[in-house]
């Protein structure tokens, strides 16, 4: 019983490590292949367009609602201290530092990441990737690398969209509904938000999340068992593993960025 459990644990650990090894190799090939995307910007633009279109609506609507909720909650707390003028700072800092990068990355993983995994997995299952190899076209360079770059570049843009819409949502609720002075909402925000500490760090976070999520999504698709069940499992793994990675990395990055001052 115990021995069986240990054996299972051992073999799971080993499988985990070999998968990590394959994933790292895959990442190295993908990054190396990205060089060959540069002379063909169309490949990249097409992918950015499809990733963007997939995520645009869900990101802006979610951003709006998160911003509105922040406006409400912030107002209730701040007005206790008579500090409702600083609502803009609270909303903007929460969004730019945390919620923008994190929530948009989670949504990105659920919407675009799962779609990437399914797409690549199905291309594998229907022998499109093998077919390309036999046509002397490297599927990593032609299929994977453009999608990787597109994910990497789209994520900060989507996070910025999320934060921007969220700040507007907070303002709508704060000054539109609850009567916070509109001028101080914006003025306080401009005065207190720090370009380096807040904005740059937020962008760095979203680049890291975009990198990890796109890597996971593409690798799970490429490494999936080429059957309908295999692809569906891979899609689930993309969403779950991305969520864990995003939240775990967020903690680490936050500790590193905002820890000592």
């Amino acid at each position: 019983m115990v021995i069986e459990l240990l054996q299972r644990l051992g073999s799971n650990t080993r499988d985990g490590f070999t998968k990590l090894g394959r994933g790292t190799r895959f990442l190295a090939q993908t990054i190396a292949g990205s060089v060959s995307v540069l002379p063909r910007p169309r490949l990249l633009l097409n992918q950015m367009y499809s990733v963007g279109v997939l995520s645009f609506l869900i990101i802006s609507i979610s951003g709006l609602f998160v911003g509105m909720v922040l406006g409400l909650q912030g107002y209730y707390i701040l007005s206790d201290f008579g500090a409702e003028e600083t609502l803009g700072v609270m909303v903007a800092a929460s969004l730019v530092r945390e919620l923008g990068p994190v929530v948009s990355a989670l949504l990105f993983a659920g919407r675009a990441g799962s779609a990437l995994t399914a797409e690549i997995g199905l291309m594998k299952a229907t022998e499109q990737l093998s077919g390309m190899e036999m046509m002397a076209v490297d599927p990593i360079k032609r299929i994977i690398s453009p999608r990787f770059l597109a994910g990497l570049l789209s994520m900060p843009l989507l996070a910025a969209l999320f934060s921007t819409v969220g700040i507007l949502g907070g303002q709508m609720v704060g000054s539109g509904l609850l009567g916070v002075d509109e001028g101080s909402y914006w003025a306080q925000m401009q005065a207190k938000l720090d370009f380096q500490d807040d904005i740059i760090n937020g962008v760095i976070k979203s680049i890291v999340f975009g990198f990890v999520t796109t890597w996971i999504a593409l690798f799970e698709g490429y490494d999936s068992i080429p059957t309908s069940e295999g692809v569906s499992r891979a899609t689930t793994r993309t969403v779950v593993n991305s969520a864990f990675s995003i939240l775990g990395l967020d903690f680490i990055l936050t500790a590193l960025m905002f820890g000592d001052d």
Binding site: L122, M123, E127, Q128, S130, G131, M134, M135, A136
Partner: protein, 276 residues
Amino acid sequence: MDNSDSSQNTLVSVSNLTFSRGNKKIFDDISLNFERGKITAIMGPSGTGKTTLLKLIGGQLCPDKGSVKVDGKNVHVLRRAELYDLRKRMGMLFQSGALLTDMSVYDNVAFPLREHTKLPESMIRSIVLMKLQAVGLRGARHLMPNELSGGMARRIALARAIALDPMMILYDEPFTGQDPISMGVLVHLIKSLNNTLGLTSIIVSHDVHETSAIADYIYVIADGKVVDQGSPEHIRKSSSEWVQQFMNGTADGPVHFHYPAREYVDDLLSAGKRYH
């Protein structure tokens, strides 16, 4: 077969090839030769490793032992760039067609040309239309792969496979799952392309009649070995009982109808006592 003497005419030679998947030996010291300009068929039941053999020839899999030479080059010692150069000269028709589903028929056929040549679009257009005309589907160029029937998809894949004017084509089960008319069209197409374009064709199939109608030479494989080889007439008159069963499609013979199992009566009586 004497290699030194036939090497002039041999395009592909598989020598003493052994390949396993897990514990299962799929090929056990197998040797095959494919002559230039001829249609050579490899026949055998499903799961004997016919697709695997094509992937070994195309360099997508590596043998455990032995070698595969294509046009004098040992496929599995080539560097990646050399292997890719060799693959540009071989077309492969996958069982599923393997068309790129996000592109139209036209773009699928243009794909290898756009990837490997710097030809202007006007030239690519002429070549694509020529190749589509050769498979009789010039009119279908605006369709998407999901709008094609199985037979049409295979013909489009064939047009794509000949886009770069290869020296040979590997066909994986070209006839399987086709209606009689598509089947006839494909049989005719494979034969005529082979002759008019001076190709070398390797067909892997378990469709006995269609394949033996156009093949110049046939290998029958089973259990990792060549069971018999020769012209279609020779194979039809084969002295091997196994080959007779395969060619005539009889249900029982050296290959049993039943998957190996313990005695039927024992199995029934033991129900409930043990697991299954």
